[in-house]
Symmetry: C2
Subunit: 344 residues, 2 copies
DNA sequence: GGCAGACATGAAATGGGTTTCATAGCCAGC
DNA sequence: GCTGGCTATGAAACCCATTTCATGTCTGCC
């Protein structure tokens, strides 16, 4: 069951393959009658040109890729959505590579994607969030970027000069801190996130600075790290609440953690926000699903994905492409934060 | 900035391209010293063979695709995770195509994927859930399946004989219904899901039958349709609660809807499950995130994805492949269901 | 010593398109 | 009637691998 090729079409339509190619691509004028005849044969066999052969000679595959650590974490589908939508318009098809958080798989995929000659790679999460990314992991990406446009979303690789699109997470965390301070809170904690990731580090640093600006500090026992999951948030919050003098406000590394925190607090009979305030980060759809609805920091996640594809497109088409684009997050005040207890 | 090819390597290593190819693929023995020399040159230039050229002649692309309606709906990433993991092991890379619920985009992608010569397409959601899928939309998929293995996940296309992997959703809905009946509920409602989708229809039918088995009925005003979203669940539940005689148990088409329902009930001051019981469907991570934790029906979503890839692999390798695989769902009882009010 | 068979290697065909360059036919203008 | 300039079309080169088939060398065995 041989595939039909452009040669078969040419023979049957009694023209040369050149003419068939021209009909397919409109690269040169073809007499109306000839064109019709060719199209008829194409239609008859439902012929579709082999994209591999075309890509091989045109050196364009029309594919790009995204590497994510965990597609079941709702942040990533959100980025993907933004990227995919833009990609479709630009004529790209998308490889989605899930690394399951293993750097080895990222490397593996990087290699496969190079072989497949993708025209762009969007890296989000994984090694690009590592505060101390091993040089060889950095090098792989840098080397890849020599041949293929690489865009890092919400991440960074030291001294790499790679294209970046990211949210100012520190600014977002500062907003969250300012918010609870304004509400009169003085006993403030931060929970969640892996300690070695920049996502975590930046936020912690920003919260610390903001507290210090107001003569407050972030106590060591009120800074707890862990996964980005609901479960982790719940456990970390439980730990906080066991302390003799529990905080009155908790800033969480992301919405998942915050939701876990809400659970832990509610389970212990605390009222939110009367007894304790909780702030999330990301403004995922979940933030309005929980009770009370979550005060959180919104980053324009779709836009992040969209911009990444835009960069790739620009680079591939010799258009000017900003090396670094930063989006400013906003605070969304909902129901999980309120005035500090005893502040009326 | 020309790409290096196998010819460049051959020339520099002073051998033929045949030999280089053999070194790369191990398809024939090569003298150790020659091999080393070739490898040295390859390493030096970090040469990676062009997958397009290879695919063209081998007629194997090592790529498969998944078409989903909405990757931000957590059900789909879960399926994808299962598929991707299996695909990696089998040496496939994954295209992810998001149709945004538009059938036109599905068609578009189908065409692109054929051109790109993917070795399998996993269809989940979208037209395959349409109770009355227009013949031309069916035909497209059937035609595609003549050249490429197609597997439908949790869906179906009338008279199509396509490979399928799915959860017995009717059985799941029956479990949910039986559960609330066992708890003494008599006033039972069903909410959510688009009316024209089989996912919805099957569940409704199963719930109806189960109620009838127990001499109960599903009143028309207790059967409300809508989107699969949290918002929709909230609105539909609100409508139910406005009714003079509100139900004591509500079965929801999925977890999202159920979470919306919980919100609506809580907002009206109802206690769950004391005043009203709520059941979800899917057992998504969210089901343990909400308060109270959701009683729901669990389908082994990862497995669904995994099995789909397995089928594709089997078909492509001439192994026996079951045309239809059905997974049995299970009920997970948590906190959102309890005895009917007044049943002690 | 001679020949079969194993081993190492290369030339050329192949896959299915696109593109360059050449050619043929036709009309207008002088 | 001849030439310049279009338009329409085709032959062949090219993209970059894999694979078949052929060739040359070496070894083993009778």
């Amino acid at each position: 069951m041989k595939n039909i090729t452009i040669y078969d079409i040419a023979k049957e339509a009694d023209v040369s393959v050149t003419t068939v190619s021209r009909v397919l691509n409109g690269t040169a004028p073809v007499k109306a009658s000839t064109k019709e005849a060719v199209l008829r044969v194409i239609e008859k066999h439902k012929f579709q040109p082999n994209a591999l052969a075309r890509s091989l000679i045109k050196k364009e595959t029309g594919t790009i890729a995204m590497i994510v650590p965990d597609i079941t974490n709702p942040f990533f589908p959100e980025v993907f959505w933004g990227s995919e939508n833009e990609a479709r318009e630009k004529g790209y098809t998308f490889f989605l590579c899930n690394s399951a958080g293993e750097y080895g798989r990222e490397s593996e995929y990087l290699s496969i994607l190079r072989e497949k000659r993708v025209e762009g790679i969007i890296f989000v999460g994984g090694r690009i969030n590592l505060a101390n990314c091993p040089p060889e992991l950095v090098q792989e990406v840098v080397d890849t970027a020599k041949g293929i446009p690489v865009v890092l979303v919400n991440g960074h690789l030291a001294k790499s000069q790679l294209h970046r699109v990211y949210t100012d997470e520190a600014a977002g965390a500062a907003l969250a801190a300012q918010h609870v301070i304004d509400l009169g809170h003085r006993e403030i904690a931060f929970i969640g996130g892996m300690e070695e990731l920049t996502t975590t580090i930046q936020k912690v640093k920003a919260v610390k600075r903001k507290l210090e600006e107001h003569g407050l500090g972030l106590r060591k026992d009120r800074l707890l790290f862990g996964e980005f999951s609901i479960t982790a948030g719940r456990e970390l919050m439980a730990k906080l609440l066991e302390q003799a003098d529990r905080p009155t406000a908790v800033i969480c590394v992301n919405d998942f953690t915050a939701i876990g925190a809400i659970k832990a607090a509610t389970e212990r009979g605390l009222r939110i926000p009367d007894d304790i305030s909780i702030v999330g980060f990301d403004d995922s759809p979940l933030s309005t699903a929980v009770i009370p609805e979550l005060t959180t920091v919104t980053q324009n996640t779709n836009e992040l994905g969209k911009l990444a594809v835009e960069r790739i497109y620009q680079i591939n088409n010799g258009l000017p492409a900003k090396r670094s684009t930063v989006l400013q997050p906003k605070l969304v005040v909902r129901q999980s934060t309120g005035r500090a207890p005893g502040m009326a």
